[in-house]
Amino acid sequence: MKGLAPPLRLIVTWAVLVALGGLSFGLSFIRFGAANTAVSLVIAAIMVVIIAIGYIKLEKAAPLARVFACVGLFWLLILFGLTATDYAWRAPPGISSSPSLRIEVPPYWQSRSGTER
């Protein structure tokens, strides 16, 4: 039956996604320095967009559905952006060099008694 065959759109989407995944896999072994991360993230973003359009057909979804998808991303941006205002201007977290401050308590899963520590 001809009507059962997958639409060309899905086949192309699948092929492009697999190719991009393979590309990202290969590129990760090459030394670009800091650009490695950037390249991999860009490829991931492209893949996400291709999935959203090719598989999910976001451009044909209800307008409100698209708004909701964007709202989630926008609020993520708020979370990252305003947190960055803090971390951009102060020392990043580091491993504390004064272990004497630390009170060592045996972890929960090691405690003998049934109650929580």
């Binding site: 059962l4 995944g21 490695n36 999935i51 209800a62 989630g72 977290p93």
Partner: protein
């Protein structure tokens, strides 16, 4: 089977079945936006600590099972393909093909979980990469390394939970599809497809964050 192959009645609060379907579509998207922020909170932690401890994170990532992770990526991309194909067939007479496609999707999901389980087995019993319980402190930049592995377990673990729920749903829907529930009304399959593909999409991001850094050291 005759009675289930007719279009179902809409629930009392809806004017029509189409009304109900579009409402469900909006509902799933609102749900997926919460999922973005759920994973997003952990992505923020990941981003900050990776910025703070680039070496520890690269060293940690180097020890992840790259081949399994990548094979799993391709498996999920394929499962989304079969899922999207199933969505095309929902609402048509192709009951048998729809059921088969859903079963293939679920099977791919199960293969993913199986491979993931094997990966977890290697992580714990062979490489001892489980933070807090068994973790080799001899590793370079061990504390940061441990943080990476903690995020690895949390992110992939939550993803696996989502995928397991997805497999359960797909199998349920396959059962209903076999009984002809989606011949007249295919919207539920579409809703299921959004969820499934979203879980796949999340794996693309996780794979990039978890497996790729530190490969070229």
């Amino acid at each position: 089977m005759a009675e289930t192959s007719s279009a179902p009645e809409p629930e009392i609060q809806y004017a029509s079945l189409a009304h109900q379907g579009e409402t469900a579509e909006i509902g799933i998207w609102a749900f997926l936006s919460t999922e973005i922020l759920f994973f997003g909170g952990m992505f923020l932690v990941y981003a900050l600590y990776r910025q703070a401890f680039p070496i520890g994170f690269a060293e940690g990532s180097k020890d992840t099972k790259f081949i399994i992770g990548t094979v799993n990526l391709f498996i999920l991309l394929t499962s989304s393909f079969t899922m999207a194909w199933a969505v095309e067939l929902a609402g048509t007479e192709a009951r048998r093909a729809l059921t088969v496609l859903l079963l293939v999707t679920a099977a791919l999901g199960l293969i993913f979980i199986g491979l993931k389980g094997f990966e977890y087995y290697e992580d714990v019993w062979i490489d001892h990469d489980f933070p807090g319980i068994i973790f080799p402190m001899s590793k370079p930049d061990a504390r940061a390394n441990e943080l990476f592995w903690l995020l690895y377990w949390m992110l992939t673990g939550l993803h696996a939970v989502h995928l397991s729920i997805g497999v359960g749903l797909v199998l349920t829907f396959a059962h209903r599809a076999w009984r002809g529930a989606y011949i007249r009304y295919g919207k539920p399959i579409e809703i299921l497809g959004y969820y499934w593909t979203f879980v796949d999409l999340m794996w693309v991001v996780l794979w990039t964050l978890i497996y790729l850094p530190g490969r070229n050291i």
